[in-house]
Amino acid sequence: MNFVTAIPARIFVLSVVGLLVTQDAGAAGAIEGEVERQPLNPVAITMFLIFVAATLVISYWASKRTKSSKDFYTAGGEISGLQNGTAIAGDFMSAASFLGITGLIYLGGFDGLVLAIGAFSAWPIMLFLLAKRVRNMGKFTFVDVVSMRLEKSGIRLVAISSTLIVVILYLIAQMVGAGKLIELLFGLPYESAVISVSVLVLAYVTFGGMLATTWVQIIKAVLLMIGVTITAFLVMKEAGFSMDALLAGAADNHPRGEAILSPGVLFKDPVQIATIQVSMLFGILGLPHILMRLFTVPTMQEAKKSAFYASLFMGYFYLMLVILGFGTAMLLYNNPDFFTSDGKLIGGNNMAAIHLASAVGGDFLTGFMSAVSFATILAVVAGLTVSGAAAISHDLYAEMICNGKPDPKKELMLTRLTTVVIGVIAVILGILFQNENVAFIAAMPMVVAASVNFPILFLSLFWPGLTTRGAIVGALVGLASSVILIVVGPQVWVSVLGFEKALFPYNYPALFTLPLALLVCWVMSVTDKSDRAQVDKDNYQKLLIRSEYGPDSGELEVARH
Protein backbone atom coordinates (compact mmCIF):
# COMPACT_ATOMS: atom_id res chain seq x y z
CA MET A 1 0.00 0.00 0.00
CA ASN A 2 1.21 3.46 -0.82
CA PHE A 3 2.00 5.09 2.50
CA VAL A 4 0.62 8.41 1.37
CA THR A 5 -2.84 6.98 1.08
CA ALA A 6 -2.91 5.56 4.57
CA ILE A 7 -5.09 7.58 6.93
CA PRO A 8 -4.42 7.22 10.66
CA ALA A 9 -5.74 10.51 11.93
CA ARG A 10 -7.61 13.44 10.61
CA ILE A 11 -6.56 16.93 11.28
CA PHE A 12 -7.75 20.23 10.04
CA VAL A 13 -4.93 22.15 8.49
CA LEU A 14 -5.43 25.77 7.66
CA SER A 15 -3.64 27.55 4.90
CA VAL A 16 0.07 27.11 4.89
CA VAL A 17 0.82 29.38 2.09
CA GLY A 18 3.63 30.63 4.26
CA LEU A 19 5.56 27.82 2.76
CA LEU A 20 5.08 29.29 -0.63
CA VAL A 21 6.41 32.39 -2.17
CA THR A 22 2.91 32.68 -3.51
CA GLN A 23 0.23 33.79 -4.24
CA ASP A 24 -3.24 34.80 -5.14
CA ALA A 25 -6.81 33.93 -4.68
CA GLY A 26 -7.34 30.27 -4.49
CA ALA A 27 -4.35 29.61 -6.64
CA ALA A 28 -2.01 29.19 -3.82
CA GLY A 29 -2.23 25.48 -3.78
CA ALA A 30 -1.12 25.45 -0.21
CA ILE A 31 -1.37 22.62 2.24
CA GLU A 32 -4.91 23.54 3.01
CA GLY A 33 -8.39 22.32 3.71
CA GLU A 34 -9.17 19.09 5.45
CA VAL A 35 -6.26 16.75 4.97
CA GLU A 36 -4.90 13.69 6.67
CA ARG A 37 -1.78 13.50 8.72
CA GLN A 38 0.33 10.66 7.40
CA PRO A 39 1.63 7.74 9.44
CA LEU A 40 5.28 7.65 10.46
CA ASN A 41 7.16 7.02 7.23
CA PRO A 42 10.18 4.79 8.03
CA VAL A 43 11.89 5.29 4.65
CA ALA A 44 11.66 9.07 4.84
CA ILE A 45 12.72 9.14 8.47
CA THR A 46 15.71 6.84 7.87
CA MET A 47 16.91 8.97 4.97
CA PHE A 48 16.36 12.13 6.91
CA LEU A 49 18.30 10.77 9.89
CA ILE A 50 21.22 9.98 7.57
CA PHE A 51 21.08 13.57 6.34
CA VAL A 52 20.96 14.90 9.90
CA ALA A 53 23.87 12.70 11.01
CA ALA A 54 26.00 13.84 8.05
CA THR A 55 25.21 17.52 8.59
CA LEU A 56 25.85 17.30 12.34
CA VAL A 57 29.28 15.80 11.66
CA ILE A 58 29.93 18.71 9.29
CA SER A 59 28.75 21.16 11.96
CA TYR A 60 31.18 19.63 14.43
CA TRP A 61 33.99 19.99 11.88
CA ALA A 62 32.89 23.55 11.10
CA SER A 63 32.73 24.48 14.78
CA LYS A 64 36.48 23.77 15.07
CA ARG A 65 37.07 26.31 12.32
CA THR A 66 34.66 28.98 13.53
CA LYS A 67 36.78 31.06 15.86
CA SER A 68 35.95 34.63 14.89
CA SER A 69 32.99 36.72 13.81
CA LYS A 70 34.30 36.67 10.25
CA ASP A 71 34.28 32.86 10.36
CA PHE A 72 30.77 32.93 11.75
CA TYR A 73 29.23 35.42 9.31
CA THR A 74 31.08 34.55 6.11
CA ALA A 75 32.85 31.21 6.68
CA GLY A 76 36.12 33.12 6.75
CA GLY A 77 35.50 34.25 3.16
CA GLU A 78 37.06 31.03 1.88
CA ILE A 79 34.17 29.36 0.06
CA SER A 80 34.76 28.85 -3.68
CA GLY A 81 32.47 30.27 -6.36
CA LEU A 82 31.12 26.83 -7.27
CA GLN A 83 30.48 25.92 -3.63
CA ASN A 84 28.86 29.26 -2.94
CA GLY A 85 26.73 29.11 -6.08
CA THR A 86 25.51 25.65 -5.04
CA ALA A 87 24.82 26.93 -1.52
CA ILE A 88 22.88 29.92 -2.88
CA ALA A 89 20.83 27.52 -4.99
CA GLY A 90 20.35 25.39 -1.87
CA ASP A 91 19.29 28.43 0.11
CA PHE A 92 16.88 29.61 -2.55
CA MET A 93 15.37 26.44 -4.02
CA SER A 94 13.03 26.17 -1.09
CA ALA A 95 10.16 23.84 -0.44
CA ALA A 96 8.09 26.70 -1.82
CA SER A 97 9.76 26.31 -5.19
CA PHE A 98 9.75 22.55 -5.31
CA LEU A 99 6.39 21.75 -3.76
CA GLY A 100 4.59 25.06 -4.31
CA ILE A 101 5.33 25.60 -7.99
CA THR A 102 4.77 21.94 -8.89
CA GLY A 103 1.46 22.18 -7.02
CA LEU A 104 0.50 25.28 -8.95
CA ILE A 105 1.26 23.63 -12.30
CA TYR A 106 -0.79 20.62 -11.19
CA LEU A 107 -3.62 23.02 -10.45
CA GLY A 108 -3.41 25.46 -13.33
CA GLY A 109 -0.77 24.30 -15.80
CA PHE A 110 1.31 27.01 -17.47
CA ASP A 111 0.22 29.76 -15.05
CA GLY A 112 2.13 28.03 -12.25
CA LEU A 113 5.35 28.91 -14.01
CA VAL A 114 5.05 32.64 -13.42
CA LEU A 115 6.62 32.20 -9.98
CA ALA A 116 9.41 30.07 -11.41
CA ILE A 117 10.41 32.64 -14.01
CA GLY A 118 10.21 35.31 -11.30
CA ALA A 119 12.44 33.35 -8.95
CA PHE A 120 14.98 32.57 -11.65
CA SER A 121 15.31 35.92 -13.40
CA ALA A 122 16.72 37.77 -10.41
CA TRP A 123 19.99 35.88 -10.76
CA PRO A 124 21.23 37.35 -14.04
CA ILE A 125 20.53 40.81 -12.61
CA MET A 126 22.35 39.84 -9.44
CA LEU A 127 25.38 38.99 -11.57
CA PHE A 128 25.22 42.01 -13.90
CA LEU A 129 24.35 44.67 -11.38
CA LEU A 130 25.05 43.73 -7.80
CA ALA A 131 27.44 40.82 -7.22
CA LYS A 132 30.72 42.62 -7.76
CA ARG A 133 29.87 45.96 -6.20
CA VAL A 134 28.14 44.47 -3.18
CA ARG A 135 31.14 42.20 -2.66
CA ASN A 136 33.58 45.10 -2.93
CA MET A 137 31.70 47.58 -0.79
CA GLY A 138 30.59 45.39 2.08
CA LYS A 139 32.11 43.35 4.82
CA PHE A 140 29.55 40.90 6.17
CA THR A 141 26.06 42.17 5.32
CA PHE A 142 24.19 44.38 2.85
CA VAL A 143 23.79 46.91 5.68
CA ASP A 144 27.58 47.44 5.46
CA VAL A 145 27.17 48.33 1.80
CA VAL A 146 24.42 50.92 2.17
CA SER A 147 26.08 52.55 5.18
CA MET A 148 29.49 52.85 3.52
CA ARG A 149 28.95 56.27 1.99
CA LEU A 150 26.02 57.55 4.07
CA GLU A 151 25.78 58.77 7.66
CA LYS A 152 25.98 55.38 9.23
CA SER A 153 23.84 55.46 12.37
CA GLY A 154 20.58 56.53 10.68
CA ILE A 155 20.80 54.37 7.58
CA ARG A 156 22.08 51.39 9.58
CA LEU A 157 19.10 51.57 11.89
CA VAL A 158 16.69 51.61 8.95
CA ALA A 159 18.51 48.81 7.09
CA ILE A 160 18.78 46.67 10.26
CA SER A 161 15.06 47.11 10.91
CA SER A 162 14.26 46.15 7.35
CA THR A 163 16.58 43.11 7.56
CA LEU A 164 14.94 41.94 10.78
CA ILE A 165 11.43 42.44 9.38
CA VAL A 166 12.28 40.43 6.27
CA VAL A 167 14.07 37.69 8.23
CA ILE A 168 11.38 37.33 10.91
CA LEU A 169 8.48 37.31 8.44
CA TYR A 170 10.32 34.85 6.22
CA LEU A 171 11.08 32.76 9.29
CA ILE A 172 7.44 32.67 10.41
CA ALA A 173 6.35 31.60 6.93
CA GLN A 174 9.03 28.89 6.84
CA MET A 175 8.33 27.60 10.36
CA VAL A 176 4.57 27.37 9.91
CA GLY A 177 5.11 25.75 6.52
CA ALA A 178 7.69 23.40 8.03
CA GLY A 179 5.38 22.35 10.84
CA LYS A 180 2.51 21.57 8.50
CA LEU A 181 4.66 19.91 5.87
CA ILE A 182 6.55 17.67 8.29
CA GLU A 183 3.30 16.76 9.97
CA LEU A 184 2.03 15.60 6.60
CA LEU A 185 5.17 13.94 5.32
CA PHE A 186 6.48 12.31 8.45
CA GLY A 187 3.47 12.02 10.69
CA LEU A 188 5.13 14.08 13.44
CA PRO A 189 2.92 16.37 15.56
CA TYR A 190 3.11 20.04 14.52
CA GLU A 191 4.85 21.26 17.69
CA SER A 192 7.45 18.48 17.52
CA ALA A 193 8.13 19.33 13.90
CA VAL A 194 8.68 23.02 14.63
CA ILE A 195 10.90 22.28 17.64
CA SER A 196 12.92 19.70 15.64
CA VAL A 197 13.59 22.20 12.88
CA SER A 198 14.68 24.83 15.36
CA VAL A 199 16.91 22.51 17.42
CA LEU A 200 18.68 21.20 14.33
CA VAL A 201 19.19 24.65 12.87
CA LEU A 202 20.56 25.86 16.20
CA ALA A 203 22.99 22.95 16.24
CA TYR A 204 24.23 23.87 12.77
CA VAL A 205 24.36 27.63 13.15
CA THR A 206 25.37 28.17 16.78
CA PHE A 207 28.43 25.98 16.49
CA GLY A 208 29.26 25.92 12.81
CA GLY A 209 28.11 29.39 11.73
CA MET A 210 28.12 30.14 8.02
CA LEU A 211 30.52 27.28 7.22
CA ALA A 212 28.12 24.65 8.52
CA THR A 213 25.16 26.50 6.98
CA THR A 214 26.93 26.56 3.63
CA TRP A 215 27.56 22.81 3.65
CA VAL A 216 24.02 22.03 4.79
CA GLN A 217 22.80 24.10 1.84
CA ILE A 218 25.23 22.45 -0.59
CA ILE A 219 24.23 18.92 0.47
CA LYS A 220 20.57 19.81 0.28
CA ALA A 221 20.95 21.40 -3.16
CA VAL A 222 22.71 18.33 -4.51
CA LEU A 223 20.12 15.97 -2.99
CA LEU A 224 17.25 18.08 -4.30
CA MET A 225 18.68 18.15 -7.81
CA ILE A 226 19.32 14.38 -7.72
CA GLY A 227 15.74 13.79 -6.55
CA VAL A 228 14.26 16.13 -9.14
CA THR A 229 16.37 14.60 -11.91
CA ILE A 230 15.38 11.03 -11.03
CA THR A 231 11.71 11.98 -10.78
CA ALA A 232 11.83 13.88 -14.08
CA PHE A 233 13.59 10.94 -15.76
CA LEU A 234 10.94 8.51 -14.52
CA VAL A 235 8.14 10.84 -15.64
CA MET A 236 9.70 11.14 -19.09
CA LYS A 237 10.00 7.35 -19.19
CA GLU A 238 6.25 7.13 -18.58
CA ALA A 239 5.79 9.57 -21.48
CA GLY A 240 8.07 7.58 -23.79
CA PHE A 241 10.73 10.30 -23.48
CA SER A 242 8.56 12.60 -25.54
CA MET A 243 7.78 16.11 -24.31
CA ASP A 244 4.84 16.22 -26.67
CA ALA A 245 3.42 13.00 -25.22
CA LEU A 246 3.88 14.38 -21.70
CA LEU A 247 1.96 17.57 -22.50
CA ALA A 248 -0.69 15.63 -24.41
CA GLY A 249 -1.12 13.26 -21.45
CA ALA A 250 -1.37 16.19 -19.05
CA ALA A 251 -3.99 17.93 -21.20
CA ASP A 252 -5.96 14.68 -21.61
CA ASN A 253 -6.18 14.06 -17.87
CA HIS A 254 -6.50 17.59 -16.47
CA PRO A 255 -10.09 18.80 -15.99
CA ARG A 256 -9.25 22.00 -17.90
CA GLY A 257 -7.87 20.07 -20.88
CA GLU A 258 -5.59 21.86 -23.33
CA ALA A 259 -6.20 25.19 -21.58
CA ILE A 260 -3.46 24.25 -19.12
CA LEU A 261 -0.84 24.52 -21.86
CA SER A 262 -1.52 28.25 -22.25
CA PRO A 263 -1.95 31.22 -19.89
CA GLY A 264 -5.31 32.07 -18.35
CA VAL A 265 -6.35 29.23 -16.03
CA LEU A 266 -5.20 30.86 -12.77
CA PHE A 267 -4.37 34.40 -13.85
CA LYS A 268 -5.88 36.66 -16.46
CA ASP A 269 -4.91 40.20 -15.49
CA PRO A 270 -1.56 41.34 -16.96
CA VAL A 271 -1.16 43.91 -14.15
CA GLN A 272 -1.48 41.12 -11.61
CA ILE A 273 1.29 39.23 -13.41
CA ALA A 274 3.45 42.36 -13.46
CA THR A 275 2.95 42.86 -9.70
CA ILE A 276 4.13 39.32 -9.05
CA GLN A 277 7.08 39.69 -11.42
CA VAL A 278 8.29 42.97 -9.90
CA SER A 279 7.98 41.63 -6.35
CA MET A 280 9.83 38.43 -7.16
CA LEU A 281 12.64 39.96 -9.21
CA PHE A 282 13.48 42.96 -7.04
CA GLY A 283 12.52 41.23 -3.80
CA ILE A 284 15.14 38.55 -4.33
CA LEU A 285 17.72 41.24 -5.11
CA GLY A 286 17.01 42.72 -1.67
CA LEU A 287 16.92 39.57 0.45
CA PRO A 288 19.56 40.03 3.18
CA HIS A 289 20.33 36.33 3.66
CA ILE A 290 20.96 35.93 -0.07
CA LEU A 291 23.11 39.07 -0.36
CA MET A 292 25.13 37.94 2.65
CA ARG A 293 26.33 34.92 0.73
CA LEU A 294 28.31 37.17 -1.62
CA PHE A 295 30.76 37.85 1.22
CA THR A 296 31.65 34.21 1.77
CA VAL A 297 33.98 34.00 -1.24
CA PRO A 298 37.59 35.22 -1.34
CA THR A 299 37.57 37.34 -4.51
CA MET A 300 35.27 39.40 -6.70
CA GLN A 301 35.69 36.90 -9.52
CA GLU A 302 34.43 34.15 -7.23
CA ALA A 303 31.47 36.35 -6.23
CA LYS A 304 30.49 36.67 -9.88
CA LYS A 305 31.01 32.94 -10.42
CA SER A 306 28.74 32.31 -7.41
CA ALA A 307 25.89 34.20 -9.05
CA PHE A 308 26.47 32.37 -12.33
CA TYR A 309 26.57 28.88 -10.82
CA ALA A 310 23.50 29.69 -8.74
CA SER A 311 21.71 30.65 -11.98
CA LEU A 312 22.87 27.55 -13.73
CA PHE A 313 21.59 25.19 -11.04
CA MET A 314 18.36 27.08 -10.62
CA GLY A 315 17.81 27.28 -14.38
CA TYR A 316 18.14 23.52 -14.58
CA PHE A 317 15.85 23.08 -11.57
CA TYR A 318 13.11 25.36 -12.93
CA LEU A 319 13.24 23.62 -16.32
CA MET A 320 12.85 20.25 -14.59
CA LEU A 321 9.80 21.63 -12.77
CA VAL A 322 8.01 21.84 -16.13
CA ILE A 323 8.37 18.06 -16.45
CA LEU A 324 7.37 17.48 -12.83
CA GLY A 325 4.44 19.89 -12.97
CA PHE A 326 2.91 18.53 -16.14
CA GLY A 327 3.86 15.04 -14.96
CA THR A 328 1.54 15.52 -11.97
CA ALA A 329 -1.27 16.46 -14.33
CA MET A 330 -0.60 13.42 -16.51
CA LEU A 331 -0.18 10.83 -13.75
CA LEU A 332 -2.23 11.95 -10.74
CA TYR A 333 -5.61 13.14 -11.99
CA ASN A 334 -6.72 9.71 -13.15
CA ASN A 335 -5.35 7.83 -10.15
CA PRO A 336 -7.88 7.55 -7.28
CA ASP A 337 -5.12 6.43 -4.86
CA PHE A 338 -4.08 10.05 -4.47
CA PHE A 339 -7.48 11.53 -3.75
CA THR A 340 -9.69 11.75 -0.68
CA SER A 341 -13.22 10.43 -0.72
CA ASP A 342 -14.51 13.91 -1.57
CA GLY A 343 -12.24 14.18 -4.59
CA LYS A 344 -9.44 16.37 -3.23
CA LEU A 345 -5.76 15.63 -3.64
CA ILE A 346 -4.53 14.10 -0.37
CA GLY A 347 -2.64 16.73 1.62
CA GLY A 348 -3.57 19.55 -0.74
CA ASN A 349 -2.01 20.70 -3.96
CA ASN A 350 1.44 21.21 -2.45
CA MET A 351 1.66 17.45 -2.06
CA ALA A 352 1.44 16.91 -5.81
CA ALA A 353 5.24 16.59 -6.20
CA ILE A 354 5.43 14.01 -3.40
CA HIS A 355 2.52 12.03 -4.88
CA LEU A 356 4.27 12.14 -8.25
CA ALA A 357 7.39 10.64 -6.69
CA SER A 358 5.17 7.95 -5.25
CA ALA A 359 3.50 7.30 -8.62
CA VAL A 360 6.73 6.89 -10.57
CA GLY A 361 9.21 5.73 -7.93
CA GLY A 362 7.26 4.02 -5.16
CA ASP A 363 7.93 4.33 -1.44
CA PHE A 364 11.69 4.69 -1.80
CA LEU A 365 11.57 7.79 -4.01
CA THR A 366 8.72 9.21 -1.94
CA GLY A 367 10.78 8.76 1.22
CA PHE A 368 13.77 10.35 -0.47
CA MET A 369 11.83 13.37 -1.69
CA SER A 370 10.14 13.79 1.69
CA ALA A 371 13.53 13.75 3.41
CA VAL A 372 14.85 16.26 0.88
CA SER A 373 11.87 18.53 1.55
CA PHE A 374 12.66 18.47 5.28
CA ALA A 375 16.33 19.15 4.54
CA THR A 376 15.26 22.02 2.31
CA ILE A 377 13.49 23.72 5.18
CA LEU A 378 16.51 23.27 7.46
CA ALA A 379 18.81 24.83 4.87
CA VAL A 380 16.58 27.87 4.34
CA VAL A 381 15.97 28.44 8.05
CA ALA A 382 19.71 28.11 8.77
CA GLY A 383 20.47 30.84 6.20
CA LEU A 384 17.83 33.12 7.69
CA THR A 385 19.15 32.54 11.21
CA VAL A 386 22.71 33.50 10.28
CA SER A 387 21.42 36.64 8.58
CA GLY A 388 19.27 37.64 11.57
CA ALA A 389 22.14 37.01 13.99
CA ALA A 390 24.50 39.13 11.88
CA ALA A 391 21.99 42.00 11.84
CA ILE A 392 22.01 42.12 15.64
CA SER A 393 25.57 41.23 16.58
CA HIS A 394 27.45 42.79 13.66
CA ASP A 395 25.26 45.57 12.26
CA LEU A 396 23.80 46.74 15.56
CA TYR A 397 26.27 45.78 18.28
CA ALA A 398 29.67 45.83 16.58
CA GLU A 399 29.14 48.62 14.07
CA MET A 400 26.66 50.90 15.83
CA ILE A 401 27.05 50.41 19.57
CA CYS A 402 30.81 49.72 19.51
CA ASN A 403 31.41 52.05 16.56
CA GLY A 404 33.11 49.33 14.52
CA LYS A 405 35.55 48.34 17.29
CA PRO A 406 33.93 45.54 19.28
CA ASP A 407 35.67 43.07 21.56
CA PRO A 408 35.95 40.08 19.13
CA LYS A 409 35.22 37.51 21.84
CA LYS A 410 32.17 39.39 23.06
CA GLU A 411 30.90 39.82 19.51
CA LEU A 412 31.21 36.10 18.76
CA MET A 413 29.52 35.24 22.04
CA LEU A 414 26.71 37.68 21.29
CA THR A 415 26.35 36.20 17.80
CA ARG A 416 25.85 32.72 19.24
CA LEU A 417 23.48 34.03 21.90
CA THR A 418 21.47 35.88 19.25
CA THR A 419 21.29 32.69 17.20
CA VAL A 420 19.75 30.84 20.15
CA VAL A 421 17.29 33.69 20.77
CA ILE A 422 16.24 33.69 17.09
CA GLY A 423 15.77 29.91 17.29
CA VAL A 424 13.52 30.25 20.34
CA ILE A 425 11.57 33.12 18.73
CA ALA A 426 11.12 31.00 15.60
CA VAL A 427 9.58 28.18 17.66
CA ILE A 428 7.29 30.55 19.57
CA LEU A 429 6.12 32.34 16.41
CA GLY A 430 5.78 29.05 14.56
CA ILE A 431 3.44 27.73 17.26
CA LEU A 432 1.58 31.06 17.69
CA PHE A 433 0.85 31.31 13.97
CA GLN A 434 -0.02 27.62 13.68
CA ASN A 435 -3.68 28.21 12.93
CA GLU A 436 -3.42 31.62 11.31
CA ASN A 437 -3.71 32.44 7.66
CA VAL A 438 -0.09 33.27 6.96
CA ALA A 439 -0.44 33.95 3.24
CA PHE A 440 0.25 37.66 3.70
CA ILE A 441 3.30 36.89 5.85
CA ALA A 442 4.77 35.00 2.92
CA ALA A 443 4.14 37.90 0.53
CA MET A 444 5.46 40.61 2.82
CA PRO A 445 9.20 39.79 2.93
CA MET A 446 9.47 39.88 -0.86
CA VAL A 447 7.56 43.14 -1.12
CA VAL A 448 9.49 44.77 1.75
CA ALA A 449 12.82 43.62 0.32
CA ALA A 450 11.83 44.98 -3.10
CA SER A 451 10.55 48.29 -1.76
CA VAL A 452 13.07 49.02 1.00
CA ASN A 453 16.31 47.08 0.61
CA PHE A 454 16.61 47.08 -3.16
CA PRO A 455 16.07 50.83 -3.73
CA ILE A 456 18.59 51.94 -1.11
CA LEU A 457 21.10 49.27 -2.15
CA PHE A 458 20.82 50.06 -5.86
CA LEU A 459 20.93 53.85 -5.42
CA SER A 460 23.80 53.76 -2.96
CA LEU A 461 25.82 51.72 -5.47
CA PHE A 462 24.94 53.55 -8.67
CA TRP A 463 23.60 57.05 -8.01
CA PRO A 464 26.05 59.72 -6.86
CA GLY A 465 23.21 62.04 -5.80
CA LEU A 466 21.81 59.81 -3.03
CA THR A 467 21.94 61.41 0.40
CA THR A 468 21.33 59.99 3.86
CA ARG A 469 18.06 61.90 4.14
CA GLY A 470 16.87 60.60 0.77
CA ALA A 471 17.76 56.99 1.61
CA ILE A 472 16.12 57.04 5.04
CA VAL A 473 12.89 58.74 3.98
CA GLY A 474 12.68 56.64 0.79
CA ALA A 475 13.17 53.42 2.76
CA LEU A 476 10.55 54.39 5.35
CA VAL A 477 8.04 55.32 2.64
CA GLY A 478 8.78 52.01 0.88
CA LEU A 479 8.20 50.12 4.13
CA ALA A 480 5.04 51.97 5.14
CA SER A 481 3.47 51.76 1.67
CA SER A 482 4.27 48.02 1.41
CA VAL A 483 2.68 47.22 4.75
CA ILE A 484 -0.37 49.43 4.14
CA LEU A 485 -1.07 48.07 0.65
CA ILE A 486 -0.67 44.47 1.81
CA VAL A 487 -3.05 45.10 4.72
CA VAL A 488 -5.72 46.65 2.46
CA GLY A 489 -5.11 43.99 -0.21
CA PRO A 490 -7.06 40.74 -0.66
CA GLN A 491 -4.92 38.53 1.59
CA VAL A 492 -5.41 40.58 4.77
CA TRP A 493 -8.44 42.81 4.14
CA VAL A 494 -10.63 39.98 2.84
CA SER A 495 -9.06 36.69 3.96
CA VAL A 496 -7.92 37.73 7.45
CA LEU A 497 -10.11 40.70 8.41
CA GLY A 498 -13.22 39.38 6.70
CA PHE A 499 -14.22 42.42 4.64
CA GLU A 500 -16.16 41.76 1.49
CA LYS A 501 -13.89 43.55 -0.98
CA ALA A 502 -10.27 44.58 -0.84
CA LEU A 503 -9.41 48.29 -0.99
CA PHE A 504 -6.36 47.48 -3.12
CA PRO A 505 -6.70 44.68 -5.66
CA TYR A 506 -3.22 43.10 -5.64
CA ASN A 507 -1.40 40.95 -3.13
CA TYR A 508 2.08 41.97 -4.25
CA PRO A 509 2.17 45.78 -4.37
CA ALA A 510 5.87 46.18 -5.22
CA LEU A 511 4.95 47.31 -8.76
CA PHE A 512 3.71 50.49 -7.05
CA THR A 513 5.78 50.70 -3.85
CA LEU A 514 9.20 50.20 -5.46
CA PRO A 515 8.84 53.15 -7.89
CA LEU A 516 7.38 55.20 -5.03
CA ALA A 517 10.40 54.46 -2.82
CA LEU A 518 12.79 55.33 -5.66
CA LEU A 519 10.91 58.56 -6.35
CA VAL A 520 10.98 59.61 -2.70
CA CYS A 521 14.70 58.78 -2.45
CA TRP A 522 15.29 60.98 -5.48
CA VAL A 523 13.11 63.93 -4.38
CA MET A 524 14.44 63.96 -0.81
CA SER A 525 18.04 63.71 -2.08
CA VAL A 526 17.92 66.42 -4.75
CA THR A 527 16.24 68.82 -2.34
CA ASP A 528 18.77 68.06 0.41
CA LYS A 529 21.17 71.01 0.65
CA SER A 530 22.68 70.07 4.02
CA ASP A 531 26.41 69.70 4.70
CA ARG A 532 25.87 65.99 5.19
CA ALA A 533 24.35 65.74 1.70
CA GLN A 534 27.57 67.09 0.21
CA VAL A 535 29.61 64.58 2.23
CA ASP A 536 27.41 61.74 0.97
CA LYS A 537 27.89 62.83 -2.65
CA ASP A 538 31.65 63.23 -2.23
CA ASN A 539 31.87 59.80 -0.65
CA TYR A 540 30.36 58.23 -3.77
CA GLN A 541 33.19 59.55 -5.91
CA LYS A 542 35.77 58.49 -3.34
CA LEU A 543 34.39 54.96 -3.21
CA LEU A 544 33.91 54.55 -6.94
CA ILE A 545 37.29 52.91 -7.56
CA ARG A 546 36.86 50.60 -4.61
CA SER A 547 33.43 49.54 -5.90
CA GLU A 548 35.02 48.22 -9.07
CA TYR A 549 38.55 47.34 -8.04
CA GLY A 550 38.01 46.08 -4.52
CA PRO A 551 38.99 47.10 -0.99
CA ASP A 552 42.71 46.73 -1.77
CA SER A 553 42.60 49.38 -4.49
CA GLY A 554 43.87 52.11 -2.17
CA GLU A 555 40.74 54.22 -2.30
CA LEU A 556 40.47 57.34 -0.23
CA GLU A 557 38.98 57.02 3.22
CA VAL A 558 35.39 58.20 3.20
CA ALA A 559 34.17 60.94 5.49
CA ARG A 560 32.01 59.66 8.30
CA HIS A 561 30.73 62.78 9.93
Binding site: P270, P298, T299, I545
Partner: protein
Protein backbone atom coordinates in the same frame (compact mmCIF):
# COMPACT_ATOMS: atom_id res chain seq x y z
CA UNK B 1 46.66 52.18 -14.46
CA UNK B 2 46.18 55.69 -13.06
CA UNK B 3 43.04 57.01 -11.46
CA UNK B 4 41.74 58.68 -14.62
CA UNK B 5 42.07 55.47 -16.62
CA UNK B 6 40.40 53.52 -13.86
CA UNK B 7 37.46 55.91 -13.85
CA UNK B 8 37.12 55.50 -17.62
CA UNK B 9 37.06 51.73 -17.23
CA UNK B 10 34.42 52.07 -14.51
CA UNK B 11 32.25 54.27 -16.74
CA UNK B 12 32.45 51.72 -19.55
CA UNK B 13 31.67 48.84 -17.19
CA UNK B 14 28.68 50.61 -15.68
CA UNK B 15 27.26 51.21 -19.17
CA UNK B 16 27.79 47.53 -19.91
CA UNK B 17 26.11 46.45 -16.67
CA UNK B 18 23.09 48.63 -17.36
CA UNK B 19 22.85 47.39 -20.93
CA UNK B 20 22.84 43.72 -19.88
CA UNK B 21 20.42 44.42 -17.03
CA UNK B 22 18.03 46.45 -19.18
CA UNK B 23 18.01 43.75 -21.86
CA UNK B 24 17.34 41.05 -19.26
CA UNK B 25 14.57 43.05 -17.59
CA UNK B 26 12.94 43.80 -20.97
CA UNK B 27 12.97 40.09 -21.85
CA UNK B 28 11.69 39.22 -18.39
CA UNK B 29 8.70 41.52 -18.64
CA UNK B 30 7.94 40.21 -22.13
CA UNK B 31 6.43 37.34 -20.15
CA UNK B 32 3.46 39.64 -19.40
CA UNK B 33 2.69 39.45 -23.15
CA UNK B 34 1.27 36.02 -22.44
CA UNK B 35 -1.62 37.73 -20.68
CA UNK B 36 -2.37 40.42 -23.26
CA UNK B 37 -4.14 40.34 -26.60
CA UNK B 38 -0.89 41.40 -28.27
CA UNK B 39 0.63 38.14 -27.11
CA UNK B 40 -2.27 35.88 -28.02
CA UNK B 41 -0.11 34.20 -30.67
CA UNK B 42 1.91 32.69 -27.79
CA UNK B 43 -1.07 30.58 -26.75
CA UNK B 44 -1.01 28.68 -30.02
CA UNK B 45 0.64 25.30 -30.33
CA UNK B 46 3.84 25.05 -32.31
CA UNK B 47 3.33 22.92 -35.40
CA UNK B 48 1.70 19.58 -34.66
CA UNK B 49 3.02 19.42 -31.12
CA UNK B 50 1.35 20.29 -27.82
CA UNK B 51 4.15 22.73 -27.02
CA UNK B 52 2.69 26.22 -26.98
CA UNK B 53 4.52 29.45 -27.66
CA UNK B 54 4.11 30.33 -23.97
CA UNK B 55 5.91 27.19 -22.84
CA UNK B 56 8.61 27.73 -25.43
CA UNK B 57 9.02 31.33 -24.22
CA UNK B 58 9.45 30.15 -20.63
CA UNK B 59 12.19 27.68 -21.55
CA UNK B 60 13.83 30.12 -23.98
CA UNK B 61 14.00 32.87 -21.34
CA UNK B 62 15.85 30.62 -18.92
CA UNK B 63 18.31 29.48 -21.59
CA UNK B 64 18.84 33.00 -22.96
CA UNK B 65 19.48 34.42 -19.49
CA UNK B 66 22.13 31.79 -18.82
CA UNK B 67 23.76 32.52 -22.18
CA UNK B 68 23.73 36.26 -21.41
CA UNK B 69 25.47 35.54 -18.12
CA UNK B 70 28.11 33.48 -19.88
CA UNK B 71 28.71 36.29 -22.38
CA UNK B 72 28.91 38.83 -19.56
CA UNK B 73 31.45 36.74 -17.66
CA UNK B 74 33.44 36.13 -20.81
CA UNK B 75 33.78 39.80 -21.75
CA UNK B 76 34.62 40.72 -18.18
CA UNK B 77 37.52 38.34 -17.71
CA UNK B 78 39.77 41.25 -16.81
CA UNK B 79 42.23 39.97 -14.26
CA UNK B 80 43.29 43.47 -13.29
CA UNK B 81 39.88 44.39 -11.99
CA UNK B 82 38.85 41.01 -10.70
CA UNK B 83 41.67 39.85 -8.55
CA UNK B 84 41.05 41.88 -5.42
CA UNK B 85 40.64 40.06 -2.16
CA UNK B 86 38.30 41.29 0.46
Amino acid sequence: MDKKEKLEVIKRKVRQRFLFSAFTIALYFSYVLNYTSAGSFLSKQIGDTHITGSLALYAALIVVFIILELIFLQINRDKKTDSGRG
